[in-house]
């Protein structure tokens, strides 16, 4: 019997010949904690860690991305507590200047195809984008892996999604595919599953496209959304197909779903949650927009920023609308500087921030007020998550078009109206 991607990856990391439902002791290649919950990890290690709280300092990292630099005293205290702990034990800290930890791990090629990574970021299953295992866990779990290099894990059942067709509209982005899947499967159907995604779209996707879709596996309730590494992903890591992990041709899946994408169009997830998905074209009444957030681990890549700048070039953000832009990492920020993207976004009226998790975690670049309508490229719009206002999740094109037109709009609408120059 053949094996699925996750069965192979977990199998080579302590699971042996494991199958769905088996409890394994997972060998973890990268053990990480963020500024969020990192201090709780330190507290656990101080309580339970004993003489040797870190099994392998070379595999153990802190990544600061939630509240960077800290704008509250408790966060500042937590970050510094982590730094002191890291210095004492010789651990690398990707500090407040680096950006989103999961993206840094991919950029720095620490988490490549087939590897295993855990951390306190619930979107760490974003590693599925590069055909790797990643999992967000609580601070107790992470403290345990810092100390032992392992933790228990129940091998999830695998399902596969076959994407059929090619989107006929060129304004469709990876985010629209993520939203399509969220709307189709809601938060329950894929709950606790490892999802493998196949199809022509996957073969042609950029690394950034894969990141966008994989980052929303958490909201689908899935353990992870795995992409079999394509040329773009292998190219980033300088790896060959032989070095990556793929499912066996006769692997067995609990279910196979076919999802047609040729009719895909720009979508939004409306309040109160990421699975409440509608087409942008489907609103009969205009939705006036007060603010737009562009960034997050879902849509903060250089590809996203380039698309935003291309659409904003020569245009202005609608009067009264706040456009907030937070690149995912320092590296993306630097490229934006060199390529002139910062200038375009500035001239259009955008507010630019240093890299990090932006509005998602601790309101680094602002929260929404009661009655405020925000279009966000992030991944969660649960009630109260980003403030008291109403947040709609959308792709970069929809977010930028909405910022320029001052109402929920697609790139198609933007091109038709031109926007304010």
């Amino acid at each position: 019997m053949g094996r699925t991607m996750i069965e192979k990856m977990l199998g080579s990391h302590g699971g042996g010949d494991c199958g769905p439902g088996d409890i394994i002791w997972l060998e973890v290649d990268n053990r990480t904690a963020r500024d969020f919950a990192g201090a709780n990890v330190v507290a656990n290690l101080e309580q339970y860690g004993g003489e040797k709280p870190i099994e392998d300092p070379g595999k153990t990292f802190f990544t600061f991305d939630c509240n960077v630099p800290a704008n509250t005293i408790p966060y500042a205290n937590n970050q510094h507590r982590i730094r002191m702990f890291a210095r004492k034990h010789g651990l690398r800290v990707y500090d407040v200047d680096y950006g989103i930890g999961s993206h840094v791990l991919i950029e720095e090629k620490l988490a490549g195809p087939g590897s295993t990574t855990v951390g306190t970021d619930s979107h760490l299953n974003i590693m599925g984008a590069v055909g790797a295992f990643g999992q967000g866990m609580g601070d107790l779990d992470i403290a345990f892996t810092f100390k032992t290099g392992t933790t228990w894990f129940e091998v999830p059942p695998s399902v596969r999604i076959d994407l059929t067709g090619t989107p006929s509209s060129d304004e469709v982005e990876a985010k629209d595919l993520a939203l399509l899947l969220l709307g189709r499967f809601r938060g329950h159907e894929l709950l606790g599953r490892s999802v493998e995604i196949y199809g022509d779209w996957v073969e042609r996707a950029s690394l950034e496209d894969c990141i966008t879709v994989a980052s929303q596996a958490t909201e689908m309730g899935a353990i992870i959304a795995l992409f079999p590494p394509n040329a773009s992903v292998l190219g980033h890591f300088g790896m060959s197909r032989e070095e990556a992990v793929y499912a066996d041709p006769d692997a067995s899946y609990q279910a196979t779903y076919e999802v047609g994408i040729s009719e895909l169009e720009p979508l939004v997830a409306c309040p109160p949650g990421p699975t409440n998905v509608r087409p942008v074209s489907g609103f009969t009444e205009p939705v006036p927009v007060d603010s737009v957030f562009l960034g997050s681990c879902t849509n903060g890549t250089l590809q996203d920023m380039e698309l935003a700048a291309r659409l904003l070039e020569g245009r202005k953000v609608h009067p009264g609308v706040m456009l907030r832009v937070v690149p995912a990492t320092r590296k993306v920020w630097g490229e934006m500087l060199r390529r002139g993207l910062l200038d375009i976004i500035f001239e259009a009226g955008g507010i630019l921030s240093n890299p990090g998790c932006g509005g998602c975690a601790a309101g680094q670049i602002g929260m929404t007020g009661r009655g405020e309508v925000q279009i966000s490229t992030s991944n969660r719009n649960f009630t109260g998550k980003q403030g008291d206002g109403d947040t709609y999740l959308a792709g970069v094109g929809t977010a930028v078009a909405s910022a320029v037109l001052g109402r929920l709009a697609s790139v198609h609408d933007l091109q038709a109206k031109g926007g304010r120059r």
Binding site: P74, M137, D141
Partner: protein, 176 residues
């Protein structure tokens, strides 16, 4: 540390319009405004503080109470606070039709009893009614009837009985 496998207590039924609430996420359980808290004893006061209709839960719940919700309880972030806030209040167990994957691990690792009740009919357990529950068999009895919850998995039972992941590992995993 001895941990009870038979529990009895008053149930907080998280329902709206007579239906158990689905998709209660970690920001509703423990809002991100309080994430900088590292002392578990300080977390209880924020429990369910952002869940509409239940924001007074922390002030009214008593040690020994149980909580019941619908599908996908604890979806969202990985914050342990969303588990520890209930432990801090002395909540005995959380029952739900299903749980978010990370939440489930966090609760198991902290030794908080989680009970999956797939298919539990709305209304079988009334708000503030007392239930008796056997964690090992999943047998649940309540004034108006009974229900068979999913029994705890072996790993979750062992960690629960040990009182948490580190305590469990001391008995099982030589490296810990």
């Amino acid at each position: 540390m001895t941990r009870p496998v038979r529990l009895e207590g008053r149930v907080w039924v998280l329902e709206r319009d007579g239906r158990l609430i689905d998709d209660i996420d970690t920001d509703m359980i423990y809002h991100n405004a309080h994430l900088a808290v590292t002392e578990a004893s300080q977390m209880g006061q924020y429990a369910l503080g952002n869940l509409k209709g239940f924001s007074d839960f922390a002030s009214k719940a008593s040690a020994g109470d149980l909580v019941l919700a619908g599908d996908n309880f604890g979806s969202g972030s990985s914050r342990q606070h969303a588990v520890d806030c209930f432990i801090s209040l002395g909540i005995l167990a959380i029952m739900a039709r299903s749980f978010g994957a990370i939440y489930k691990r966090n609760a198991i690792n902290s030794g908080l009893a989680l009970v999956e009740v797939p298919g539990l009919p709305d209304g079988l357990i009334e708000h503030h009614e007392t239930v008796a529950l056997d964690l090992e068999t999943g047998y649940l009895s309540v004034g108006s009837g009974e229900f068979h919850a999913r029994p705890m998995s072996s790993v979750s039972r062992d960690i629960y009985l040990a009182g948490g992941l580190f305590e469990y590992a001391r008995t099982r995993e030589p490296r810990a």
